[in-house]
């Protein structure tokens, strides 16, 4: 009788244990997805020539109105995708390369110019009289600018221009940076 009672109590204990499963009934896994985007810049403008028929006025001096042009008028889309992108400008004055030697008093074969505009939301400027031939950097960051403006203006001078062909250059360089 005692043995039967022990066996019965053991069975009850076993049943009680089975009725409390220990499994977790919810499981999840998290997968990380990664990608990269490299820093890029691009401009539709690779080379452009702005032709100005006559940069002198009727008095033989600089025709400021004729030189008031958008130097970037042929440009399309300019953009950079990196926060630390920069634009570098480097320009040279209008020079009559066909004239050698020293200009007579009251004449010149050099016309300095200034440029002002905006690249994205960054104001840009360049002045050949002060920084001609040297790089000027502007932090342009992330921007996308269609047909940006770069307005030229000639420096005023009382000198008359020596006849000939004048040319100037403006180099724009976009450098990507994250």
């Amino acid at each position: 009788m005692l043995k039967s009672a022990l066996a019965a109590s053991a069975a009850v204990a076993a049943i009680a244990a089975l009725s409390s499963p220990v499994y977790a009934n919810n499981t999840s896994a998290t997968i990380t997805v990664n990608g990269t985007v490299g820093a890029q810049c691009s401009m539709d403008l690779t080379s452009q020539s702005v032709s100005i028929p006559d940069i002198s006025d009727s008095n033989g001096r600089v025709n400021a109105a004729a030189l008031a042009v958008n130097a970037l008028s042929g440009g399309g889309d300019f953009w950079c995708n990196g926060a630390n992108s920069k634009l570098t400008l480097n320009g040279t004055p209008f020079t009559n390369a066909g004239f050698t030697g020293t200009a007579p008093s009251g004449f010149t074969n050099v016309v300095n110019w200034s440029l002002s505009g905006t690249m994205g939301t960054t104001p840009i400027a360049y002045d050949t009289a002060h920084v001609g031939g040297t790089d000027q950097e502007y932090p342009v960051g992330i921007f996308d600018s269609n047909n940006p403006s770069g307005q030229l203006s000639a420096d005023a001078s009382s000198d008359r221009l020596i006849a000939g062909d004048y040319s100037a250059t403006l180099t724009l360089t976009l450098t990507p940076g994250t």
Binding site: A11, T27, S28, T36, V37, A39, N81, T121, D144
Partner: protein, 192 residues
């Protein structure tokens, strides 16, 4: 004499009656043994906990590249001993190093569709809904319920990459990151 015979007959009858009942009496009892199996699901091991999509933008115009052949990952050894529900929740790839909102025409988020196949006959998918800043204004998930127990491998793949607005350029960042969470749960409406 007749009385003696009668007494003997009674004694014999009593003895005969006693002999019909065993001297050591037997007894029996039936003990019922019961057990239970709890409802459970187990999600197995990931072949890889990371999926690297690589370069997201193209080198021509900075917009989203045509992404294909993205490696998937497999979860092996998963099982549920009852009806189950599988759920997939994905979040967009977002440039972690870029603070704030990107300028107009740019995005810091790439959306995609994550699908989990192998658990049941149909794949379960979820498409992210990030805006250009990577925020999602609507919660979303993909799920499927199975009525029967299941034991199978689950394969997770990515597809249908897109930007919040068509033609968006991607901001430069070395670490775009999103997550995919796969959950298995018992389904009370399924088989016991």
């Amino acid at each position: 004499m007749e009385r003696k015979l009668l007494t003997l007959a009674v004694v014999c009858s009593v003895l005969a009656g006693l002999c019909a009942v065993p001297c050591a009496a037997s007894d029996s009892a039936t003990l019922t043994v019961k057990g239970t199996v709890g409802s459970a699901c187990h999600l197995g091991d990931l072949s890889s906990s990371q999926i690297d999509v690589g370069q997201l933008s193209n080198n021509t115009d900075g917009t989203l590249a045509a992404i294909s052949g993205t490696p998937g990952t497999t979860i092996t050894g998963s099982w549920c001993n009852t009806g189950s529900k599988i759920t997939v929740v994905a979040s967009p790839l977002v440039a972690l190093g870029f603070a704030g909102a990107p300028p107009s025409g740019f995005t810091k988020a790439v959306n995609y569709t994550a699908s989990a196949s192998g658990w049941g006959s149909a794949a379960v998918s979820d498409t992210t809904l990030g805006d250009s800043s990577g925020a999602e204004s609507t919660s979303h998930s993909g799920s499927q319920t199975l009525n029967d127990p299941e034991a199978n491998a689950i394969t997770v793949n990515l597809a249908a990459f897109s930007t919040p607005s068509s033609g968006d350029r991607l901001v430069a960042d070395g670490d775009y990151e999103g997550t995919i969470t796969v959950t298995l749960a018992t389904n009370a409406a399924g088989s016991p």
